[in-house]
């Protein structure tokens, strides 16, 4: 079943207009899949989900579209150490909050957390200022991930 949208066009539509890219069926389908999941899907998982409704959309297109979406900043690409890239729709204008990830090194589970983002933002600000002065390096992005054992996996050790 579709998510609650008030019929209006999805927020990413103007982004295509501006950038001059065509908003094709494939691209919409892939964005739909990403917007309807809380998971961190791999390219193949996205392909399989899209394939249910659009059996003629190929894996190649999924890869190409994801690359485009990442370049456009609509989608984030992550590496959680399981040998394949995983994708996640960016928070968007009024969407999810910015978050980071906890990765269980035993079972691979990934937990999103939005707590402590404020502290991290403060760290980021100071680091950015400092490093910018020292190395003349302009920070545009950051990656913060924590690794460890999740609830269920702690018992095993």
């Amino acid at each position: 079943m579709p998510r609650c949208r008030r019929g209006g066009p999805p927020w990413w539509e103007p982004r295509f207009q501006e950038a001059g890219f065509r908003l094709t069926i494939s691209r919409q389908a892939i964005l739909e899949v990403l917007s309807n999941t809380k998971e961190h899907l791999s390219a193949e998982e996205i392909y399989l989900a899209v394939h249910k409704n659009y059996p003629n959309i190929g894996l190649t297109t999924v890869y190409r579209t994801l690359e485009l979406l990442v370049d456009m900043g609509l989608v984030f690409k992550f590496d959680f150490g399981d040998k394949r890239a995983r994708y996640e729709l960016s928070p968007g204008p009024a969407g999810k909050r910015h978050h980071h990830h906890l990765v269980c090194t035993n079972c691979g589970r990934v937990i999103d957390y939005t707590d402590f983002i404020d502290e991290e933002r403060e760290l980021l600000r100071r680091t950015e200022t400092g490093l910018s002065e020292k190395y003349n390096f302009k920070i545009t992005d950051h990656l913060i991930q924590f690794y460890g054992l999740c609830d269920e996996c702690q018992g095993q050790f």
Copy 2:
């Protein structure tokens, strides 16, 4: 030319003893290469460096050894987004300081920095405590990287 060591056995030797692994020529050669560079070498680069002195050590062994060293905690494995893993000798007992990385998204240059590590440690401590309580997640490691434009690449945009 060899680094200044006072002839004593390298610090990683006992780690092999304890773990019950054999400290073979290959493993020593690879550790030597890693301890004599400031770069973030890829498996192939390590292979090429080792190959100069030990032409009979194969790439397979380099991969296998690196995996072992990472498991033993003697070496860190990083992904800077250039499609291959890069390796770095762990700080060791009296070695380099713990550091994080600045990655230039234009030229790929990687800068190590040890500044602000204290702030990060503080963030880590608080985050660890908080997330541990909320999700019962035991943090054992973290990955913090900043992306942006290095000194030289800023002019291009």
